[in-house]
């Protein structure tokens, strides 16, 4: 028996137990080369978007994060295939883009559901009951693969606490008993709690909440 029982190594939030974490790297293998632009098929739209991003910076590498956003929009996640396509357009190795993608919370290197639900569980929101809200979301979403539900660090909407970012729009405050309706609205593709969207909030004179 090995000294470390792999099943007992905790999975850290920052992903230090990614698949293959306990396998030694094959040092005899060559790193993946830059994909050949002539033989790598890239969707025309994706290529145009990434080339537009590259034109905005003196150094094309700067387009890495915007390009990965574009890949994610096209493929749903930063798939090896998508990373290969972006690498072919940007003339970098896939490894370079994979290293960037694994650093950031909003770039997904594993397939995820199409509905992004990020529940803020940072200090201000948790003082207002965000942990219960997240638990309620977990219960009502269940194992629905359409959802990418996760707790998130401060989303910068502490005035709407407890809140969630649902498919990119901020909604809050959300009460625990409103979660079933919110989840249903997201499933139907509707805007949940329209009167509590950030886009309709005023900056001056915030409302009294309790």
């Amino acid at each position: 028996m090995s000294a470390i029982d792999p099943s007992r190594v905790p999975r850290f939030a920052h992903g230090s137990r990614v698949p293959g974490w306990d396998e030694a790297a094959d040092l005899t293998k060559d790193p993946a080369p830059m994909p050949d632009p002539a033989t790598t098929p890239v969707p025309e739209q994706l290529r145009a978007t990434i080339e537009d991003y590259m034109s905005r910076y003196p150094d094309r590498h700067s387009a890495a994060i915007p390009a990965l956003h574009a890949v994610q929009l096209h493929h749903g996640w930063c798939s090896p295939e998508g990373i290969e396509q972006a690498a072919a357009v940007m003339r970098v190795t896939p490894g370079y883009l994979a290293a960037v993608a694994t650093f950031y919370d909003m770039l997904f290197t594993e397939p995820v559901g199409t509905h992004q639900v990020f529940v803020c569980t940072n200090i201000s929101c948790s003082l207002c009951g965000a942990d219960d809200l997240f638990a309620a979301f977990q219960e009502h979403v269940g194992d629905d693969a359409e959802f990418n539900l996760r707790s998130f660090e401060c989303l910068g909407a502490c005035d709407m606490a407890p809140m969630a970012s649902i498919d990119g729009s901020y909604v809050g405050p959300i009460a625990v008993d409103e979660v079933p309706a919110v989840v249903e609205a997201v499933r139907r593709g509707e805007e949940p709690l329209p009167d509590r969207q950030l886009s309709r909030r005023k900056a001056l004179d915030p409302p009294v909440i309790s």
Binding site: S62, A161, A203, P206
Partner: protein
């Protein structure tokens, strides 16, 4: 209370469009600035004595004056990666009045002769970023961004760059690395960005609120702006108040009003029947202050003298219904998650602190562990590449110092609960509740 400067017309419908912004006097400050020489504009910024609104509080005019003169490629970067827990001021400024930020950036770029500017906005801010992108397009079409702006010798381009969710990218050198398309790891300083920043060129980096104030400073004159506020903390500031208050939100205040007026006056104080237990005066990175400190003047120097900092100007209020251990654990977990892992004191220190707080919560700790935890915090402070490690160590250290009794009581209660759990007797209700509270 002074007149609002940044929030004057903030809720005006359509202020995010060029037409409405111009109707409210928009881009007049830019015309005025372009008619002045670069030295004169810099002089106004220095005379205003405005201190950076992002967290460090460094004088903006002085920072701009550090950039070398000459014709090399220089860059202006707006730090819109507002991720400090409790902070939401930049969100409203970009969402409601994106042209004010753009106008401020064009003036700042003129001052330092930068021809390329970027707004690095956090990826989560989808709506503010969309509105900013639209505003930039409008400004380009109207000739406020482009070649020979309004007939002057200043030409520039400006782009909005979306991040992808990393707190560390709010640190200026990590932001530069991220903007260069790398993982967001902080750089060793010096060289400071003013000398060697983005693409190795001299770079001025300022927060959204700082740059949004620039048009006001030019319009009213630096010296008149400096009359607002108090010594060393001039002007107005947007403070975000959140947590256990009745009216959480953004409020524009003149620096130097009492903290009680902000927490109780503007934000309505804690809910009925509750009291303020402690508060973070400048985001979760600032050492905590207690209810005895509520009458302190809210400005940079007073907060520093009280052993804390004004930071990004975000007050998080915690009332007496919450346990100090829970808040400490939440704080430490956040910094553990966001530590980039480049330097050891931060990577290991944040992880260690979380583990020790979990032990305290589980009743496996002894009061001696509090001393060990406090010494870990001391060893983090000042020993990291950037301030992320300090940002955890300072509040956690202050919590242990100011609420040591509660930590010890929590350890004792949790230990007693564990002991009872191992015996067959049913535990008395009072002890269980004591352990949870």
């Amino acid at each position: 209370m002074t007149d609002l400067l940044l929030f004057k017309d903030i809720d005006e419908p359509g202020l995010d469009t060029l037409e409405v912004y111009e109707r409210h006097g928009g881009y007049q400050a830019l015309r005025k600035a372009l008619a002045m020489s670069r030295e004169e504009v810099l002089h106004e910024l220095e005379a205003s004595a405005i201190r950076g609104r992002g967290g460090a509080g460094f004088a903006m005019g002085k920072k701009a004056s550090f950039l070398p003169k000459g014709t090399m490629d220089k860059y202006l970067v707006c730090n819109a990666d507002e991720s400090e827990p409790g902070t939401l001021k930049d969100r409203d400024l970009m969402l409601k009045s994106p042209h004010m930020l753009i106008e401020g950036m064009v003036i700042a770029a003129y001052t330092i002769s930068a021809n390329l500017a970027y707004i690095y906005i956090r990826g989560e801010y989808d709506l503010p970023a969309t509105r900013l992108e639209r505003a930039v397009e409008e400004a380009k079409a109207a000739g406020y961004i482009g070649d020979s702006i309004l007939g002057s010798d200043h030409s520039m381009n400006l782009w909005v760059h979306r991040g992808a969710g990393a707190y560390i990218c709010g640190e200026e050198t990590a932001l530069l690395d991220s903007l260069e398309g790398k993982r967001g790891n902080p750089r060793l300083k010096p060289p400071f960005p003013a000398v060697q920043g983005l693409f190795q060129g001299p770079t001025l980096i300022n927060n959204v609120e700082t740059l949004s104030t620039v048009p006001t400073i030019i319009a009213m004159g630096g010296e008149r702006y400096a009359e607002l506020g108090v010594q060393n903390s001039t002007g107005t500031k947007v403070v975000s108040v959140s947590g256990n208050v009745r009216r959480p939100g953004n409020f524009e205040i003149e620096l130097g009003i009492s903290s009680r007026d902000i927490i109780y006056g503007l934000a309505g104080g804690p809910p009925e029947g509750r009291e303020v237990k402690f508060w973070f005066p400048g985001g979760s990175s600032s050492p905590i202050l207690t209810k005895d400190d509520l009458d302190l003047s809210y400005d940079f120097d007073t907060m520093a003298k009280a052993g804390s900092m004004l930071g990004s100007g975000s007050i998080i209020v915690v009332d007496d219904a919450h346990s100090i251990v829970d808040v400490a654990l939440k704080t430490a977990e956040f910094y553990r998650h966001e530590s980039c892992g480049k330097c050891t004191p931060c990577r290991e220190g944040t992880n260690w602190t979380v583990k020790m707080l979990e032990r305290i919560d589980d009743g496996e700790a002894t009061p001696m562990d509090l001393d060990i935890m406090a010494s870990v915090q001391e060893q983090i402070i000042g020993n990291c590449l950037c301030v992320l490690g300090d940002s955890m160590a300072m509040p956690i250290g202050s919590m242990v110092e100011k609420f040591r009794d509660e930590f010890e009581a929590h350890i004792e209660a949790a230990r007693a609960r564990n002991e009872l759990a191992t015996t067959d007797e049913a535990p008395p209700e009072a002890i269980i509740q004591g352990a949870v509270a």
